[in-house]
C-alpha cells in the first residue's frame, strides 16, 4: 500500500507538514448540484418521449460487458477475505491447489464472472421483453387479428377509410367550387399538382403548393434522378418505347432519351409539360387514362411511374394497371416506385409528411393488384434502408468470453428483426411483366 492509512502518525505528519499553501491547481472542482438538477429535467423530458428501442440502441452491448466486469473485482476481494478467514473447506481446496490440481482463485473468479453474466443476462432479457411487449401492443392496436405482422396493411386500410370519409364529408358540404388560388396555373384545370388517372380530384386542397413542397422535402433532385437511371435505364432500354406516367418536368425521360431510348411523357400540368417539352421530349398533356385508351393495344414497351400511385384512388389505380396490361406489348415491363409504408419510420415520417398521399400503398397490396390486373410476373424490390437509425450490431473479438459472444449473437439477431420492422427500406418498386407473346 503506497498511501499511509489516514489515521496513522505518518498521515498526520503530512497534515502538519503542509503548512505551505496547498497546491491550488490540484483541487478538483466541487461537484456542483446544478448540472444534476438540469440532468434530472433532461432525464424527465427524455424519459417521456424515449422509446425502449432507442434506449437499447444507445447503450448497445458494450456497457453490459462493462457492467459484468465492474462487480467482479469487488466480489473477488470479498472472496479472498473469506479465504483468509480460513473456511477449512477452502484450506483443503488450497491444499489440492498447492499440489497442482486446482487454482481456487481462478475458480472463484470464474464463479464470479458467471454470476455477473447471469445478472446481466436477466436484465437484458427483461429489457427485450419490455420492447417486445411494447411492439406487440402497437401491433395489436393496429391489427388485432394479425398483430405486428399485419399492422402496416391494416394501417393502410384505416387511413384509406379515414380519407374516404373525409372526402365524402367535404364534397357533401361543398356546393360551389372553391376559389382558385393565385398559385394555380389555370383555373379550369383539375386542381391537382400531379397527373392521375380517373376523373376525381386527387388532392382535396387547392391551396397547397406542391412544387415548393417537393423541392423542400424530397431531397436533392439530381441525386434522385441518377438513382432512378441507375436502377432502371438498362431494363427500360430493352423495352421501348418507354412511357413515363406523370413525367413532371421530364428529367428522367430526358436522361433516358440521352441514352437513345425512345420516350413518351404524360403530364396533365401544362407548366410542367411545357418544361418537359423544352427538353425535346414528346409530352401528352392529358390524363394517363385518357391517353392510354387512345393508343393501340400492345403498342408500348414499358411504363414507368415514380411516386404517383400513392396519390391515386384505388379504383383509378386498378383502372390504370388494367390499361397498362392491355397497352403494353408481350413481355413488357411496368415499373412503379413508391415509398415503403411497411417501414415504420417511413410511415411515421415521410409518408405522413406529404398531404397529397391518398393512402400508404403496401408492397403486398400493390403486388396483389398487379397480379389481379393481369401481369404475369410481379416482383418487389426494396431500396435504401434507414441505416442511420439502425440499432447497432455488436462485434466482439475472439478474446471475448464465450458467454459474451453468445449474448452478442442473440442480441444482434433481435436487433436485426427490429431494424427491419422499424427502420426498413424507405422505397420499394414493383416490377411487373406482361405475359410473353404466344409462340407460334
Amino acid at each position: 500500500m503506497s498511501t499511509p492509512d489516514p489515521t496513522s502518525a505518518e498521515a498526520v505528519e503530512r497534515l502538519r507538514g503542509a503548512g505551505v499553501p496547498a497546491e491550488q491547481p490540484a483541487a478538483p472542482p466541487e461537484p456542483s448540484p446544478e448540472p444534476r438538477r438540469w440532468g434530472q429535467v433532461a432525464t424527465r423530458v427524455a424519459g417521456r418521449g424515449r422509446r425502449a428501442a432507442a434506449g437499447l440502441a444507445r447503450r448497445g452491448l458494450a456497457p453490459v460487458v462493462r457492467r459484468a466486469e465492474a462487480r467482479v473485482g469487488q466480489r473477488v476481494h470479498r472472496m479472498v477475505v473469506d479465504v483468509l478467514d480460513g473456511d477449512p473447506a477452502l484450506a483443503q481446496v488450497r491444499e489440492v491447489a498447492d499440489r497442482g490440481g486446482l487454482d481456487p482463485q481462478r475458480i472463484r473468479e470464474r464463479d464470479d464472472t458467471v454470476h455477473s453474466a447471469h445478472v446481466n443476462l436477466e436484465l437484458l432479457k427483461g429489457e427485450l421483453r419490455h420492447v417486445q411487449s411494447t411492439l406487440d401492443e402497437l401491433g395489436m392496436a393496429f391489427a388485432p387479428g394479425t398483430g405486428l405482422a399485419g399492422a402496416g396493411a391494416r394501417y393502410a386500410e384505416l387511413r384509406e377509410s379515414v380519407y374516404a370519409l373525409e372526402r365524402r364529408l367535404r364534397t357533401a358540404g361543398t356546393t360551389s367550387p372553391p376559389p382558385s388560388s393565385p398559385g394555380t396555373a389555370a383555373a379550369d384545370l383539375p386542381p391537382r399538382p400531379r397527373p392521375a388517372d380517373g376523373d376525381a380530384p386527387v388532392l382535396s386542397s387547392t391551396l397547397f403548393d406542391y412544387v415548393g413542397f417537393e423541392r423542400r422535402f424530397r431531397g436533392d433532385p439530381d441525386a434522385i434522378l441518377h438513382t432512378l437511371v441507375d436502377r432502371y435505364a438498362e431494363l427500360l432500354s430493352d423495352h421501348q418505347p418507354v412511357v413515363d406516367v406523370g413525367c413532371g418536368r421530364g428529367e428522367l425521360l430526358g436522361m433516358l432519351a440521352e441514352r437513345g431510348i425512345e420516350v413518351i411523357g404524360i403530364e396533365p400540368d401544362p407548366g410542367m409539360a411545357a418544361e418537359a417539352r423544352a427538353r425535346g421530349i414528346t409530352v401528352h398533356e392529358e390524363l394517363a387514362g385518357d391517353w392510354l385508351r387512345s393508343v393501340p393495344d400492345g403498342s408500348l414497351g414499358a411504363i414507368i411511374t415514380t411516386h404517383v400511385l400513392e396519390h391515386l384512388e384505388l379504383d383509378d389505380m386498378i383502372e390504370l394497371l388494367e390499361l397498362a396490361v392491355v397497352k403494353l406489348g408481350p413481355d413488357s415491363v411496368f415499373i412503379s416506385e413508391t415509398p415503403n409504408p411497411a417501414s415504420l419510420i417511413v410511415l411515421g415520417n415521410s409518408y405522413l409528411l406529404d398531404p397529397t398521399h391518398v393512402r400508404p400503398l403496401h408492397p403486398s397490396l400493390l403486388a396483389f393488384l398487379c397480379e389481379k390486373a393481369g401481369f404475369r410476373d410481379v416482383r418487389l424490390r426494396f431500396y435504401s434502408p434507414a441505416e442511420d437509425y439502425h440499432l447497432p450490431m455488436t462485434e466482439l473479438g475472439e478474446d471475448a468470453p464465450e458467454w459474451a459472444r453468445e449474448l452478442a449473437g442473440s442480441v444482434n439477431k433481435g436487433f436485426g428483426v427490429l431494424n427491419e420492422v422499424l427502420f426498413g427500406p424507405q422505397d420499394y418498386a414493383v416490377i411487373a411483366r406482361t405475359p410473353p407473346a404466344p409462340s407460334n
Binding site: 497534515l15 503542509a18 466541487e30 484450506a91 419490455h130
Partner: protein
C-alpha cells in the same frame, strides 16, 4: 442442493445502473430472474421487484418498486412496499442507492475514538477540518486555520472533531463517521436528513460556526457521526440488497459459500486484517470441515 431462492425482476424502459449494482450484490443464494406478466414465473420466485410502468395487479408475493428519476409521482407507499431509488431521489424511508465508490480504508471513528487518536497524535483536542473548493484547511475553532494538501482530507475526515464539506468530500467524511456540516444541495444529493445525519446551512460562515459548536458538544457530535455514517453505509448497493431481502422477507438458503464466521464478522464491519479474524481462523483451523456447507472432498466444484 436446495432450490434457489429467486427474486423476479420486472423491467421496462431503462435499467438504472443502481439496479444492476443491487442485483449483483444480492446475498449468495438469491438469484435475480427476469419476469414479465406475459409468461409463467420461473420456479422458486419468492418476491418481485418492479422497475417498470407495470405494477402488480394482484400481488400474491411481496414486492418492491424501483422509483425512477423522472417519474413524478412517488410509488404508492404504504402497505409496507419497499421503494428503491437513486440516492437523492427517494424519500427518507426509501432504499436509496448510491454508486459512489467507498473511500479506501474508510472505517467509522466516532468522536470519543477521534479524541483519543488526536491525543495520541498530539493534535489539538478541538479540531475542525474544512474542505472548500479552494482547498483544505484545519485548526482550532476561533484560531487562524492552517492550509493542507487536498489529499490529506481523509486524515481530517478520520480525526477532526467536526468537518465542513460538500460533495465528494462530504461522502468521504461520512464514510469515516465524521460529524459533518454541509450545504443543502450536498445533503439532498446524498439523500441525507438535515439535522439528523448532518447539519445543514447554505452560509459558509454559519457552517464554520456550526462545526465549532459540534467540537464542543460530544453528545450531539456522536449522534450525527453515527447517523451520518449509517446513512452513507445503507446507500451502498450491498446494504440496499440486504435490506431489500430483509424487508421482502427473502431468506437466503442457510448454506452458502461464505462461512458463517466470516459472514458474522463482515456484518459487524471487521477490517480484513483485524486480529479477531485471525483468532477466528485459528479457532477453526483444527476442525476441517466444520463449516464446509456440504463441501465434499471428492468433488472438484464448490457447491
Amino acid at each position: 442442493m436446495t432450490a434457489p431462492v429467486r427474486l423476479a425482476v420486472h423491467i421496462g424502459r431503462d435499467v438504472p445502473d443502481g439496479l444492476n449494482a443491487v442485483l449483483s450484490a444480492l446475498p449468495p443464494g438469491v438469484q435475480p430472474v427476469a419476469a414479465s406478466e406475459r409468461e409463467a414465473l420461473p420456479e422458486g420466485v419468492v418476491a418481485h421487484l418492479y422497475c417498470s410502468d407495470v405494477r402488480p395487479r394482484r400481488p400474491v408475493a411481496p414486492y418492491a418498486v424501483w422509483w425512477m428519476a423522472g417519474e413524478d409521482a412517488a410509488p404508492a407507499a404504504g402497505a409496507g412496499v419497499p421503494v428503491l431509488a437513486d440516492a437523492g431521489h427517494g424519500r427518507p424511508d426509501d432504499l436509496q442507492v448510491s454508486l459512489r465508490a467507498w473511500p479506501e480504508h474508510a472505517r467509522p471513528v466516532l468522536p470519543f475514538t477521534r479524541a483519543g487518536l488526536r491525543r495520541v497524535r498530539e493534535l489539538p483536542a478541538r479540531l475542525v477540518g474544512e474542505s472548500r473548493s479552494d482547498g483544505v484547511s484545519w485548526g482550532v475553532p476561533g484560531e487562524q486555520p492552517a492550509v493542507a494538501a487536498r489529499d490529506t482530507w481523509p486524515t481530517l475526515a478520520a480525526l477532526a472533531s467536526a468537518v465542513v464539506a460538500t460533495g465528494e468530500d462530504l461522502w468521504t467524511a461520512l464514510a469515516w463517521a465524521a460529524p459533518a456540516v454541509t450545504d443543502a444541495a450536498s445533503a439532498r444529493l446524498l439523500g441525507l436528513t438535515p439535522g439528523e445525519d448532518v447539519l445543514v446551512d447554505d452560509d459558509p460562515a454559519v457552517r464554520t460556526r456550526l462545526a465549532a459548536g459540534l467540537a464542543d458538544d460530544e453528545l450531539r457530535a456522536a449522534g450525527l457521526a453515527r447517523r451520518g455514517w449509517q446513512a452513507a453505509c445503507c446507500r451502498r448497493p450491498a446494504a440496499v440488497a440486504a435490506e431489500l431481502c430483509r424487508r421482502l422477507g427473502v431468506r437466503p438458503p442457510a448454506h452458502s459459500t461464505v462461512s458463517g464466521l466470516t459472514a458474522a464478522m463482515d456484518e459487524l464491519g471487521t477490517p480484513p486484517h483485524s486480529l479477531v479474524r485471525r483468532r477466528a481462523r485459528a479457532a477453526t483451523a483444527g476442525l476441517p470441515g466444520a463449516v464446509t456447507s456440504g463441501w465434499r472432498p471428492d468433488r472438484e466444484e464448490h457447491p
